[in-house]
């Protein structure tokens, strides 16, 4: 398929996944604040979100005094046009890319995304009032889910669909790893309090933000334990938001697309990612340092993105031979 269109589909799904992830993060953070009575200072609750989305620099530019408040974070992550990860900007990016690839996605997909964008574009002109925040995030998640449902049920299987999967799972793996990294760091001092109510709420919030709370409960019976959470979120091959699940889907997608390269860097990177996950267990990884592990994982994801760029989106460079 056309390289530029493949790239647009890839970015369409990455941006859409980002929209969804941002809504999840905000919603869970809000809910957690409501429930936890020992939630701590407002700044402590919201600052980690900035780390997760790697947004410190842009945030500083918009709020020069640097103070992090809930209201500011909501504005920054929902409406701020200068923040490419805000719901507004990410959805705009998804829709612009869908518009470019409009002849390769189904009419249903386009209409769902366009309608979604029109609603959010309308919202952004007035401030989101606190009582409507949660409903709005729920709506965003429902719209993204609708889009994925329509994609699965109406999109022609082929290269375009595979690039959609690559975009979705690369972004999802990236975000899941970041959430875990930041939350784990923040929760680390509380390791003595394993099994405490605080632990329940903190790790519970993380699981909920990944739609994994119920799955966790069904699978692990020892209460909410950090090790088990890592096991589910990193290593499970059956949980749709885990790192391992994402790597499996991306590997399949690349196998479907095939490669015209004699030496396929994309394939090699995916093999390295699989190897990183296959031979380990949660306990070992946590003992050796979850942060180091996740950093390595995120680095490999960046390499994967760069290789996709080289080998698919700019495949024509340096190729004299005509494909048929």
């Amino acid at each position: 398929m056309l390289s530029r269109i493949a790239e647009s589909i890839y970015w369409m799904s990455r941006f859409l996944e980002r929209t969804d992830n941002t809504a999840r993060l905000l919603d869970i953070n809000l809910n957690h604040l409501l429930e936890a009575n020992d939630a701590g200072a407002e700044e402590l609750q919201w600052a980690p979100l900035l780390h997760i989305v790697a947004g410190n620099e842009v945030y500083q530019r918009i709020f020069p005094d640097g103070t992090v408040t809930g209201a500011r974070m909501i504005r920054y992550m929902v409406q701020e046009k200068g923040n490419s990860g805000s719901i507004y900007a990410a959805l705009k990016g998804a829709r612009e890319n869908a518009r470019v690839a409009r002849d390769r996605i189904s009419k249903e997909m386009w209409e769902a995304l366009n309608e979604f964008w029109l609603q959010v574009d309308g919202h952004v002109t007035h401030r989101l009032s606190p009582e409507r925040e949660s409903a709005f995030f729920k709506h965003v998640r429902a719209e993204v889910a609708r889009f994925h449902g329509l994609t699965v049920s109406t999109m022609l299987r082929g290269d375009a669909f595979s690039f959609y999967l690559l975009g979705t799972f690369l972004e999802r793996a990236d975000m899941t790893a970041r959430i875990l990294d930041v939350k784990y760091h923040r929760l680390l001092p509380d390791l003595d309090l394993v099994g405490s109510p605080l632990d329940y709420y903190q790790w519970g919030a993380l699981l909920k933000s990944l739609s994994g709370f119920e799955a966790y409960r069904r699978h692990y019976h020892g209460g909410i334990r950090p090790l088990d959470v890592v096991d589910l979120v990193v290593f499970s091959r059956h949980f749709p938001r885990s790192l391992h699940f994402a790597v499996d889907r991306m590997t399949q997608a690349i196998q479907e697309i095939g490669t015209s390269q004699t030496d396929c860097a994309v394939c090699r990177t995916l093999e390295r990612l699989s190897a990183l996950l296959a031979a380990r267990e949660a306990e070992e990884v946590v003992r050796e340092g979850l942060h180091e592990f996740l950093t390595e994982f995120l680095d490999q994801l960046s390499t994967l993105h760069a290789s996709l760029q080289n080998e698919y989106f700019e495949a024509h460079l340096g190729m004299e031979q005509c494909a048929t």
Binding site: M1, L2, R99, R102, E111, D159, A315, H316, C322
Partner: protein, 482 residues
Amino acid sequence: MLAGYPMPETNRAMPYHEFYLDDFQPRDHYRPLWEHIRRAGQNLLAEKARDAHLALHTEGVTFTVYDDSDEGIERVWPFDLLPRIIPAREWDLLEAGLRQRIRALNLFLKDLYHGQRIIKDGVIPAELIYKGKDFQRQVLDVDPPHDIYTHISGVDLIRDLEGRYLVLEDNLRTPSGVSYMIENRIIERRILPEFFARYRVRRVEHYPDLLLKALRHLSPRGADAAEVVVLTPGIYNSAYFEHTFLAKEMGVELAEGRDLVVRNNVVHLKTTRGLKRVDVVYRRVDDEFLDPLCFRADSVLGVAGIMNAWRAGNVALVNAPGSGIADDKAVYAYVPEIIRYYLGETPILANVPTYQMTDPHDRDLVLSQLEGMVVKAVAESGGYGMLMGPASTPEQRRDFTRRIQENPRNYIAQPVVPLSRHVCYLDGELESRHLDLRPFIIYGEDIDVVPGGLTRVAMTKGSLVVNSSQGGGSKDTWVLAD
């Protein structure tokens, strides 16, 4: 050349009304529709108008209006509920007239780029051709496949006071609007199926199929092996919606200039698997941006080397480069002569009287009566670069007087023809508005005129400007089977 043509006096007569015979009675072919509307009542129409707008909004049927920002403004396609109906006999005449015109214009283009018999015979002045912005020397002696230059045309027609159809513009470069013709039909049928029950309306939705067939017919490797692409300037182009629409309906790639590359005089598509040969390019990029090596060197919309590939016969370009000279507004005045010259036939469709600003007598006449004139820059389209006399300010008229005197070859003038009117459903009322008609003609193995077209409506009361870029709307256009 038109000295002595009577100037219209304002208010001498009412413009032709397509719908009403007089203020209360509809024409025969509108009677079933009229009765239906009267019975259905206002509430139903209001509801249907809302449905239609919502549907167009959700489906993203939009066009882009250029403004000061880089991106332009995306607007929902404006659509009026009430269809325009063309009786079969009227259409037969139009169709014959359009075929005749397109046949003659293609012979004219072939002649201009090979030998120029028409200039040597003194039918058209050499200066008019050579000074035309769209006469491309790079096209001289090139033989496009099957001698076809204008594979796709969208001729603008208006009706004079008596209801006679006149050709306003030929639009032979990259005419747009065909997707809206089809979208209008889809919406109309969905929102108002009951209207259709009373008429036998001819279909228009097979247009992309006709187009694909005509494009494949041009492939240098034969129709069976044809790799066809639509070349778009990109998402900020006003007709981007249409480019996507056509690519999707035909099942071909929608490419931008940067997706194509020329190697050894062969055009290729950059794909995820490397390069792939292209045979036919339906380009929606103007000549001057098509190839930076051949035309504007600063163009980033085009493909370097594509003109050489075309000249070598390795790729078909649609419409052929250089076609624009045949719809240069100064050449337009000669089309009746062109028809007589190449076909030996009497023109079936008349032109709007046109004054050449290069003719001193015509020029003085026009400048003395600018208020009653439409002045157009000869190589512009889309309603840009024109002066509507009756709606102009004294400054604008002074500005155009200066521009005409400085560069007379660049302008023509036409007396204001009061476009015919039709009823539109606007804010709960039936109101009369001016409109025109753009049918689409495909020149493939044969010349096909799709029975229908894009009816554009000037939504502002009294306005004669129907271009969507200037706030125009549209109607579904029905050609009756009998």
